[in-house]
């Protein structure tokens, strides 16, 4: 499959069918007390569900063994939602956390879900789950009143048991209440959720629930599933995007013992009972390709993105730019560049497909099991009822397993062709080639200050990154934000952890620093003075306090930077300290302090893990990661040239998570990464006086920037 042919997944508006009827579900679940629920969706989930039957979006089951099972179409790819969702459910239903089981990402068992992206698990699905839990608790109290013959108002639910508060030995367990029953409840009213003062589990730190499986090797990922008679496939790939197959000779591979060759249109694959022997056989396939027509490379891409941008879309505006120009005494104009970035999850795209007759089951490394199922239904021509996607543990996604499920289609087609279960596990080289990269992008900002040092105008144009995080939030009377997305990319692009926001924050917060320097003000003070949003101010102040910030105009020579941003409803501020080797241009980040306001943090420990992970991952796009390419060829195909952050690159990380239990929950998986590029760029400027305008800030670029001001 050419990467340009990836079926488009709309990340804002899904139009899919709900697969399961409640009757089918009850049968599948084998009885117990089952609560269906539909409530509490935030606008993101509502947008996804437009046009869907919507009588339930969450359900849970209480079994005769007292265990509570949460069924969710969300998946766990390391971000910790399996722990936080279990906390939310256990708290509302009043059962121990250990008695909650999570069934995730199985399209035949779980309610429809648009995918695990956009930090929606806790803020979007969580409220529906809590409501279902509260409803389940209500049903259990009703049943208990009947069974132990005590009026409901005298009953207390606690730790999976209901008892009479006047006579505590009159008690019944949840398991006993579910024993021998099949009760399905469709909750209609919005039940009363616990208030923060009643929380027993929500808001308390818990370690991951899947650690033991992961440290013992028991955790199974898609590539670890074994079926009798399965084959491993390796697929013939073009050398460049846009290259087309001229001719192919598979005769030498066909002669190898145990090798099966499949040729089906564009799909040429060799299969073997051992993956390494399939790979060896693929090297015997002779193929010629017509070269790619693409003329672009990683140097010329930026001009291309601007010249072919088409008409812009105004994303935000206020006042009048011309008025602002008249007010301005100092103009600051700058262009910022950002190259393509790979997702580089440690687990490559993997699928195991078993096609039997007109039925298909696919174990898939994916963030979007339901959209993947739709793609399979279309590719195979099977009834939707006969296609099942099962999501085992997923070895990282970061957006890269959201829009690309091509390996599922490949495995399913090959299983259909051979009549055997087939695993497709992309090599690292395939992973780099077929990734839907974070787009290269250009941002130009024209801004100005009054002679008193107040921002007068802000004219912001972003090319190719998208508008997430593009509108500024400073107090600027005359402003305009325009997004241009017209230029085609030489390969697929897609969402990469906080899509667009990393690039937009790098540009905005660099420009704000430039303006602070022109105004001869401390960069933290300049921000605080020109911000209105209380949450923005609060995170900046929290980060400054933790860091021990001492004001000074930049560049101070200390190597300190500050940045602030917002994503998925959450606010983050970071302060970084860097050391720059002026001779080599090498940057070592020594310390990062991050303060985050995400409202109610359901599992503060999990949230902090995400903050640390974001900061560490962010160092890659900031300092080393850049996809080099020429004429449709991706030149970085492994980790020898595409450098992820190593242990030695990781600074001391300190986190401040604001305690806001009475606030709604906002996203936690993405925010802390968005300002890493900006905060390091600002710290490099503070250390050296050189302003880096392109990500990543490689030693060569840092050296050049220092030389330019010398």
């Amino acid at each position: 499959m050419n990467s340009h042919e990836y079926p488009k997944i709309d990340f804002t508006d899904f139009q899919l069918d709900l697969d399961l009827s409640r009757r089918d579900l009850l049968k599948a679940l084998g009885g117990g007390i089952v609560i269906f629920f539909c409530v509490g969706e935030d606008s993101v989930l509502q947008a996804q569900r437009r046009g869907l039957p919507s009588d339930f979006n969450a359900f849970l089951r209480i079994g005769a063994n007292g265990r509570v099972t949460c069924f969710t179409g969300k998946i766990e790819h390391g971000q910790g939602n399996a722990t936080a969702l279990a906390q939310m459910l256990a708290d509302e239903i009043d059962t121990p956390l250990e008695s909650v089981d999570m069934v995730m990402g199985d399209t035949s068992l779980c309610p429809w879900d648009g995918g695990t992206w956009g930090s929606t698990s806790i803020r979007g699905f969580g409220p529906a789950l809590r409501a279902a839990g509260a409803e389940a608790r209500r049903v259990l109290l009703e049943l208990a009143a009947e069974q132990i013959k005590v009026p409901q108002e005298r009953l207390v639910a606690e730790n999976g048991v209901i008892y009479d508060k006047q006579q505590k030995d009159r008690r019944v367990t949840y398991g006993a209440l579910a024993q021998g029953k099949t009760i399905a409840r469709q909750a209609k009213d919005k039940p009363a959720l616990k208030s923060p003062s009643e929380f027993k589990l929500i808001g308390k730190p818990f370690p991951r629930r899947d650690s033991v499986e992961k440290v013992t090797g028991k955790a199974q990922y898609a590539g670890d599933i074994r079926l009798p008679g399965m084959l491993y496939a390796r697929i013939l790939r073009p050398p460049a995007h846009g290259a087309t197959l001229k001719n192919v000779d598979t005769s030498a591979a066909e002669k190898i013992e145990g090798v099966t060759v499949v040729r089906e249109g564009d799909l040429v694959a060799v299969l073997h009972a051992n993956p390494d022997q399939a790979a060896a056989a693929l090297s015997q396939v002779r193929a010629e390709f017509n070269p790619s027509p693409s003329q672009l490379d990683d140097q010329t891409i930026f001009d291309h993105l601007v010249k072919n941008a088409g008409n812009g879309r105004t994303v935000a505006q206020g006042g009048n730019i011309e008025e602002g120009r008249k007010m301005a005494a100092i103009a600051v104009e700058q262009t910022y560049l950002d190259g393509y970035k790979a997702h580089s999850a440690m687990e490559t795209h993997t699928a195991l497909a078993q096609v039997e007759g007109n039925k298909a089951t696919v174990w898939l490394a994916t963030q979007t099991p339901f959209p993947a199922k739709d793609q399979l239904v279309k590719a195979l021509g099977f009834d939707a009822d006969n296609v099942r996607v099962i999501t085992p543990f997923v070895g990282g996604g970061f957006g890269g397993k959201g829009s690309v499920n091509a390996q599922a289609i490949e495995a399913a087609r090959l299983s259909k062709a051979t009549g055997k279960p087939v695993q497709v596990c992309w090599s690292r080289e395939e992973e780099f080639f077929f990734d839907a990269f974070r787009p290269a992008a250009v941002v130009t900002i024209k801004s100005g200050l009054t002679k008193e040092g107040k921002p007068a105008f802000w004219d912001y144009s972003v090319y190719a990154a998208g508008d997430r995080g593009a509108p500024h939030f400073y107090d600027i009377p005359h402003h305009r934000t325009t997004s241009f997305d017209g230029a085609p990319h030489p390969f697929a692009t897609g969402p990469w952890r906080a899509p667009g926001n990393n690039t937009n924050c790098f540009a905005r917060e660099s420009q704000i620093d430039l303006m602070a320097a022109k105004a001869r003000m401390d960069p933290l003070e300049f921000r605080l003075k020109n911000l209105k949003d209380k949450r923005a101010i609060r995170v900046l102040e929290a980060a400054a306090e933790k860091f021990g910030w001492k004001p000074a105009p930049t560049p101070s020579g200390r190597g300190l930077g500050v940045a602030v941003g917002t994503d998925v409803g959450t606010w983050v501020a970071e302060i970084a300290e860097v050391q720059v080797d002026k001779r080599t241009g090498r940057v070592q980040v020594k310390r990062v302090v991050c303060a985050q306001d995400m409202g109610l943090a359901v599992n503060p420990q999990g949230a902090i893990l995400q903050m640390e992970g974001c900061i560490t991952m962010g160092l890659g796009y900031t300092l080393t990661e850049d996809v080099h390419f020429r004429s449709g060829m991706v030149l970085d195909r492994n980790f020898d040239t595409y450098e992820l952050p190593h242990f030695s690159a990781v600074p001391k990380i300190e986190t401040v998570l604001l305690d806001l239990k009475d606030q709604p929950t906002h996203g936690g998986g993405e925010p802390a990464i968005i300002i890493v590029g900006a905060v390091v760029a600002n710290a490099i400027h503070d250390a050296t006086g050189a302003r880096l305008l392109q990500l990543p800030m490689t030693p060569e670029r840092v050296r050049k920037a220092i030389a330019a001001i010398a």
Partner: protein
């Protein structure tokens, strides 16, 4: 050419008859059914496939199975003893030193090998010893903490 290769795998004798050039990783994962070692890059850049051969970390994706002949091979599945987690495994759990978990088996076995050579490493020595193992989720600081705390729990004794 098929040859018979015999070694000790997680304390049990095994033998395979296969092409001796095949990478140990794939013999472990397919022929021997141990999927703890993970394929990450295929070129020894990432460390997800790390296993122990005679208690030393090796990158099994580029290690010919022939070289294991007569040796002791240990995968993550063979680290816990009698259901009791190894101090490194315990420390990774206690420190939440993982997210997606895909790099974890390789991290733990690389750390094991490091502690064999240097039972009481400094933080800097841990960073140097682990520097060629990649983690995309960004669990690095917790992994360093976990290794330090496991070293203390093992009281400088060998694993």
């Amino acid at each position: 050419m098929a040859e018979t290769i015999a070694f000790t795998l997680n304390d049990k004798p095994v033998s395979v008859t296969t092409d001796g050039q095949r990478p140990l990783l794939w013999v472990l994962r397919t022929d021997l059914g141990l999927t703890g070692p993970k394929p990450g890059c295929g070129q020894a850049h990432c460390g997800a496939c790390t296993v122990l051969v005679d208690n030393k970390a090796v990158r099994s994706c580029v290690y010919p199975v022939r070289n294991a002949n007569g040796r002791q091979v240990r995968t993550i599945e063979g680290l816990a003893k009698n259901g009791e987690l190894h101090p490194l495994q315990k420390a990774f759990v206690e420190h939440d030193a993982l997210q997606c978990g895909f790099c974890t088996p390789g991290m733990i076995l690389t750390a094991y090998s490091l502690l064999q050579e240097n039972p009481q490493p400094t933080r800097e020595e841990i960073i140097q010893g682990m520097d060629k193992n990649l983690c995309r989720c960004g669990a690095h600081t917790r992994i360093i903490d976990a290794i330090q705390s496991a070293a203390t729990a093992m009281k400088g004794g060998k694993a």
